[in-house]
Subunit: 171 residues, 2 copies
């Protein structure tokens, strides 16, 4: 049993703003149409507006990058907890003072805290690199995400149909 | 030029809490060690604590799932803006009242708003399915994320060395 796992998964926020900015006339969306859309002419993909010079893949990769730092911190903490309680306490203390939202900023701050923290930061960086290259199951990620969208779409429609048909029956 | 893209990418929050919960004695991390760790015995992967019954891949897939809904809403809005301004306005108005944090919750609410909104929701669901199956570049995501971790690690170490060597020179 994984009774020790108290990670507040449900508290994790998501990758975009809670509500679009409504101060202006929908600045969340492009205000003007593109005058030229070269990608539309040369490929059959749907036009995704609003990512500027970046791409949805780059945005998703950036979020995964921060997620890998978060996972690496957890891995290192779990390792230290058993054989180096002192370093574990230092890591926990540092975590209580620094946000993990931006993985690189977190590592940069840790680097400059003390020489012991510098070694911890180097280890976290090494682990996040090894984790995303060797341990993270990329094929599984794709499989789970594709399954999730199919299952969710089916469930949403099923729930709606059940809800409306039971409402009809009650009339 | 993509001058119309005003998506506030920099404002997008990340996939984990800003700071670990410090009310208790590090509930962010497991308080007890596992008594049995079957996965450790049978594979060479690093032990990642704290994901309970789920996995890091499932957590990342859940976030991608919400990201796909967000992208689908953008695609549909961009399409509607040009040929159906009325539906576009309705979508924008709905967006101003409902959070996109939870994609499925957003679609479920839209389903129940009105029959016109129901059609919008069905379209968004269809687009997110098509987007993640056909358009999203999974290989590119992996490539970008692996490159990002290597580049970031190099830059972090380089910055630190430059900083400390220039501090040495000033002495």
């Amino acid at each position: 049993m994984e009774s020790s796992a108290i990670l507040p998964l449900s508290q994790l926020p998501y990758v975009y703003p809670a509500t679009p900015n409504t101060n202006k006339a929908y600045p969340f969306w492009p205000c003007k149409r593109r005058t030229s859309q070269p990608t539309r002419l040369h490929c059959s993909k749907m036009f995704v507006p609003g990512f500027g010079e970046a791409s949805p893949e780059a945005k998703a990769a950036k979020n995964l990058h921060n997620f890998f730092t978060y996972v690496a911190v957890k891995i290192v903490a779990a390792q230290l907890e058993s054989y180096n309680p002192e370093a574990y306490e230092e890591l926990m203390e540092f975590l209580s003072r620094h946000s993990l939202n931006d993985g690189d900023k977190f590592c940069a701050s840790m680097f400059r805290e003390s020489s012991r923290h510098k070694n911890l930061a180097l280890r976290i960086m090494e682990v996040r690199s090894a984790y995303c290259k060797n341990d993270f199951e990329w094929d599984n990620l794709k499989r789970l995400a594709l399954k999730m969208v199919t299952d969710s779409n089916t469930r949403l429609m099923k729930d709606y149909v059940l809800e409306t048909s039971s409402a009809e029956t009650e009339k």
